[in-house]
Symmetry: C3
Subunit: 137 residues, 3 copies
């Protein structure tokens, strides 16, 4: 067994933003020399998340709109008494900051319309990290 | 280390439907000859999801009702300008298309009331795929 | 490759409660003698969940309040005709009962404000189990 780990450093530009990292993740899987295993895509942040879905401009706006509706920035949260980003924390906790994909025959397995996104929930940030870990043999 | 991978092909019959795949997943784990590791259950689809919970008829209807409430089919989504299934995409992105379970002593570990379901969000479909990957030794 | 598995047994005291298990999980990773791999934190329960986020008293109350809002205990669920905990089941299914973290250089990788919590959704319970599985080499 072996592990192959790379870190992406991503600059975000908006309060809420989806960053498509599919190409970077697939490149890391290809470069791993791992034939069969899994790929963990993980954001070590409490105000970001990882999701997989279609890269279609309208849908990407819908995803951010849905997050704004479900986790309103101006909600009456206690965490906002000491900071102003409770909504971002809540979205990160419940959407989740990682996703796991199969790796088979050296390729990341995903659906045709299943791109991988970093979800910025409290940007802009100079550097968001995403750990891409391929594990297998 | 070894990996053991099988693909389930599942026909769905309704717009929203839960398909209990626990028996199939457990059979694959048993047939894997892997004693200790993990089992990734992954749907390579942008309008389906995987969840674990109780197989009780009322609760299964509740889960689908909750999805309909949280992701209404006739919501005013931009993706619906080019397609009609934005709600299904949103539910898939946020619920997640995979779940990971421990495998110990050759058995999948889950709670007594924790069955594994494919969640069809945009059916009916002739063939939904679920990748079941057992990894360990 | 090797796997190192420990089970936490946690007593909960309230209907809804967050239990910070970060120290226990990190101790298990350190004791695993595994340098690189993953750590799966999994609750084998249909009315509990696992999340990662900041251990700040206000935010912890916000997380529970958000769960109460999204999954109201007195909702008109069919499962409540035979039991009284449909809301707990729904929250467990959709939030998810597991989270996966990278393990690098013998350390669990998480963000500075990303503590690991068992989410009790239907307590109090005498013993909730959390499986902590470290897999790698």
């Amino acid at each position: 067994m072996k592990t192959h780990v790379k870190q992406l450093n991503i600059r975000t530009h908006k309060k809420l933003q989806l960053v498509d990292i599919t190409a970077e993740v697939e490149e890391i899987v290809r470069g791993s020399d791992i034939k069969n295993g899994i790929c963990l895509v993980f954001a070590p942040h409490a105000t970001a998340a990882i999701v997989a879905n279609e890269h279609e401009r309208g849908l990407m706006e819908d995803m951010l709109e849905k997050i704004s509706m479900d986790y309103p920035h101006n909600g009456k949260w206690k965490h906002n008494l000491i900071d102003d980003n409770a909504a971002a924390h809540l979205a990160s906790a419940f959407i989740g900051s990682g996703r796991v994909f199969p790796v088979l025959d050296g390729r990341l397995i995903r659906g045709t319309w299943q791109n991988i996104f970093l979800v910025e929930l409290d940007g802009p940030r100079y550097s968001r990290r995403v750990i891409v870990e391929v594990l297998g043999e």
